[in-house]
Symmetry: C2
Subunit: 149 residues, 2 copies
DNA sequence: TTTATTAGTTCACAATGTAAACCATTTGAT
DNA sequence: ATCAAATGGTTTACATTGTGAACTAATAAA
């Protein structure tokens, strides 16, 4: 009789929980003048002025149209600049402005806080186990999606 | 140095994995003339002709506008009918058509298959542990979202 | 030197989330 | 019994997001 639970697609739960996470992060960061693409900022920072949009798309696991929108958004708000690559004229290297570097610590802090909220009541072991299994599931599904056809 | 991984917001991973799941489910069910709201059908079926749109919204954890769209969609495709409640003239009881009942087993089967793909390589124990932790995280976040203000 | 790829942009369309205004019906208070 | 408030559902509107296609400019391959 509890087959019902079993049948409930975990896809829904995963999506919903993920959205919940991002919403809470948004609330914590509502003092900023941006309300999304926080993680993009972190990745661009880690790229040390060498990250291109295609690479960012790869790391964010999204498409290039979305990346253009994200970079446009962050650039309009004064957080990111496109710097034409000297080596390859097609590429743009993404760099953070000083304004962006100033808000990065707060973003990371809020991310850690939200993560802490999410993990509330779980042991370290459970947390690492969860992340590990989540990674496996993610790989299983992305493999299946690519091999699908 | 692997702090980077730690910093990657699990919200993104959860969302992405959930979407992956639903995409794969979609592929498996591409022989149908609907391409979403499968789980709504299952819930309506479980409601035995007594489920209202508000209740469905609650079970799908979404808002009533989305429910109207979902029911419109499923009704237009001939899978669901709105039956005005005899008790309360405001409510509509959702019922499945024969067409819907015919496709339900296939939907459930595909859901189980996709779940099996997702869980590939995991022990039963890991699976139940994962679902259990996921539930806790989901609760933690939804509590925080409601208490947020 | 053509041709094919690649990086990025733009356009277009559908799905989804969210908020607000709105009906009709029912409930509650007086 | 009546009037106000709450509820179930619909509609409109707007922004975000995913997806596909067509396109430019620049590089790589033939």
């Amino acid at each position: 009789m509890e087959k019902i639970q079993n049948i409930q697609p975990i896809g829904r739960i995963l999506s919903h929980t993920g959205r919940s996470f991002l919403q809470l992060l948004n609330e914590k960061l509502n003092y900023l003048d941006i309300e999304r693409s926080y993680y993009a900022l972190i990745l661009i920072d880690l790229g040390h002025g060498e990250l291109t949009q295609t690479e960012l798309a790869c790391q964010l696991e999204t498409d290039k149209v979305s990346i253009v929108r994200i970079v446009d958004y962050l650039a309009a708000k004064g957080y990111v600049k496109r710097v034409k690559s000297a080596v390859d004229g097609r590429k743009y290297c993404l760099t953070l402005t000083g304004k962006a570097k100033k808000i990065l610590p707060g973003i990371k802090k809020s991310m850690e806080e939200v993560t802490a909220v999410a993990y509330n009541g779980l042991t370290e072991l459970q947390q690492t186990e969860f992340i590990s299994i989540l990674g496996i599931i993610k790989d299983n599904l992305s493999k299946a999606n690519n091999t699908g056809s």
